[in-house]
Symmetry: C2
Subunit: 443 residues, 2 copies
């Protein structure tokens, strides 16, 4: 007798080469998948709880490989500005003088609500007050990689930058309490905010524990020029000289890369998080994803924070990733729908080192899955589920979400989060935030 | 006593320079807007029917300036292919041998269901069997500009191309029955499928009646080179020599334009329909929209058909239009959220010559409006409704849709269309279509 049976659906396991299963089922025992298969009503395993998912499409939950959860507070606060004005006139002052641990917690709960409703079951986050983010994700029931942000100047929760790695180390140590569903690690913001010693110390801290180290890499042309001027090296060559590049490094954005840098990332086994909606909105550029994939680099998709996107919706990222590179390369055959869907699931899990646990539907993996409602005009008719998922589906099509055998969304309703309470907290806080910004904007 | 009052909402009229109204109301008398304003519960006009839209955002319905409605049948049938293979191996054979009037009708009803659910109140369509499309839109209650497709080779419903303008003329004449809500006109497919005589005759037919003439213009680099080789002129100069360019011409796509061509389009008052999702998916290119806008050209947004998109969702087009040009120009300040929202509403209405009737909320205009549900994680907090509509909102956030004073969607439910019946027809037909395609793919 298994615990939960989801049946009578179209099931995509996203295991390489596996065909769609119709009528398909997924059997869940405890937190894990016990079986996946194709069977009619008479041949199904017995279960304590059963979901008839008729008209539904079951697939692995999505993996968001880059987020700054508390930045949901700043969604739509300041758009369509030059990057430096946006950072210096809004984001930095807000992070310095307005954000606090309690606000980081509620902002992360808001992010969790959006992520779950959009079918994300695993999220990699990097920000300040990350212990608050971790607490929020734990409460929400999400699988996560939470990474404490590190910079070499005073930061929220770290007034003295000399303490930045001490704080990060304590964050990692305290992460043992969350083991199983949340990995705790470090996010070095970037090469232009972290010096060589900080980068090396962060790598040492994470490498010895087998943890991924995240960093923003070559997001803008300006930052690449600055690093070259300061070090005489390309950003990737500089990181390599510092010994930072290995299979446990996740390079976020990776927009401005030479062929040699791409080769070096591939050689070292560095993983890449691709955030196309953010890259376009901030006019950063188009990352050379087809080239990286051709070199065998493992790539996942990320939303980035809600201040620079302005949503945490991986369906939009999939649609854009599939389209952007076609026009950029003048080639409609690059970034096919099945390939892009893999980036948002299986490959995203590999970016985070979680491929043994999540990213596909296979016996023994954690039961991280979502059910979409296919019976809608924009998903009709259905010839190719991969095409629909990438080119037509949207976050609200997600009806049910399960992480580790536990329902986080049922019939479109959040089961672990109190949405009215979160909305009330955010509404009240946002009035305070608006007042704070009116102060900022005064000459 | 007015007929319908929508109140207690955040109202964006999208009249130039008009501020958001909160708490705002829209009063509807018959098919038209009687009043728009800001007032609390005690100061509202009396009404026969009242909708308390608390937590909602009311704005003009969206205007989709380019669609091929029956192509919903081909959604996801063949993706990620080179353009010529996609056209010659799939689309052309299907249109020639599988499509028929009844299927065009049901495909257009499917399109109407998707359009309404996504907040589109006015759609410009161009296809074959357009009288069937018009019948479907009429049944659905949409405002529409229906344009009979014209090409110089045998087409669905027009086996002899010498009849193409006769059929189009009859279509236009029979359109008088639909006057008020549906404009009937002509869509010359393109310069590479319509010769000079056809283009001139179509322009003559439509110009004398004050109707817009649609045509695909300079979608791909290849087609521009072909026209240059054949005529010695750029596509725009060639059309100008034929006398086709005026305020009643709508150029769809307009991707590959020289500065001189852009100047000439502006000088002649030609309107442009921008279809970014289709342009990217087919790797056509990025249209020079910021340059056209700087020249004063009127631009609207279009979804194109579901075979090349694969959805009819203007929210995705807004998000992409706002982002694409930023990265293309290396400038995060181009295509601001308010400007893009205007393209999808007020400016789209101007593209279609319907600016006196729809596109903004103003007394005397037709009551074409939508209500979005703001009380959702991805639209929280709310600082700037323009930003949310362009960068965060999605089609499913649309809760209610009204066209000409009549509800087409209430609380997310279609009121004029029988969705189970449409879904059943499409499901049955798509099995036949899949069998037909298996025949096609045989070597």
């Amino acid at each position: 007798m298994i615990d939960i049976l989801i049946h009578n659906a179209l099931v995509l396991t996203l295991e390489p080469g596996a065909p769609p299963l119709m009528p398909g089922y997924v059997a869940v025992q405890g937190s894990r998948i016990a079986a996946v298969g194709q069977a009619g009503p008479d041949a199904l395993p017995a279960a304590r709880e059963s979901l008839d998912a008729r008209g539904g499409l079951v697939l692995p939950g999505l993996v968001n490989t880059h987020c700054h959860a508390p930045m949901t507070w700043f969604r739509g606060l300041a758009d369509d500005l030059p990057l430096q004005r946006w950072l210096h006139d809004f984001i930095f002052p807000l992070e310095r003088d307005w954000l606090n641990p309690d606000r980081a917690y509620w902002g992360a709960l808001l992010a969790a609500a959006e992520l779950i409703r959009g079918g994300v079951t695993t999220v990699a986050d990097g920000y300040f007050y990350e212990s608050e983010v971790r607490r929020a994700f734990h409460h929400a029931g999400l699988r996560a990689v939470a990474a404490q942000g590190v910079v070499d100047f005073p930061a929220p929760g770290v007034p003295n930058p000399r303490d930045n790695l001490k704080v990060a180390g304590e964050f990692v140590e305290s992460g043992k309490d969350f083991e199983g569903r949340i990995t705790s690690t470090v996010f070095c913001h970037s090469l232009y905010t972290c010096g060589a010693e900080t980068l090396k110390a962060a790598k040492s801290l994470t490498r010895t524990r087998g943890l991924p180290l995240f960093l923003h890499l070559s997001e803008t042309r300006q930052e690449v020029e600055d690093i070259r001027r300061q070090t005489g090296l390309s950003p990737v060559a500089y990181l390599d000289r510092l010994g930072i590049l290995d299979e446990l490094t996740v390079a976020v954005h990776a927009v401005w890369l030479t062929q040699e840098e791409q080769d070096l990332l591939a050689l070292r086994g560095v993983k890449v998080s691709h955030c196309p909606e953010s890259n376009l909105k901030l006019a950063a550029g188009a990352a050379p994803i087809p080239d990286l994939l051709a070199r065998g680099v493992t790539v996942g998709l990320g939303s980035d924070g809600a201040a620079s996107n302005n949503n945490l919706d991986l369906w939009g990222e999939m649609s854009l990733a599939a389209r952007l590179h076609k026009v950029w390369r003048h080639d409609p055959t690059v970034m096919s729908a099945p390939q892009v869907l893999a980036l948002a699931t299986r490959e995203g899990a590999r970016v985070l080192g979680l491929e043994g646990r999540t990213g596909t539907l296979a016996p023994g993996k954690e039961a991280d899955l979502i059910v979409l409602d296919l019976r809608q005009p924009h998903l009709t008719p259905l010839f190719d589920p991969y095409s629909h998922l990438v080119y037509a589906a949207r976050a609200r099509d997600v009806r049910d979400v399960m992480v580790g055998g536990r329902w986080l969304l049922q019939n479109g309703e959040l089961t672990t989060l109190d949405w009215p309470e979160i909305a009330g907290q955010i509404r009240a806080g946002s009035r305070d935030l608006a007042a704070f910004c009116r102060g900022l904007r005064r000459p």
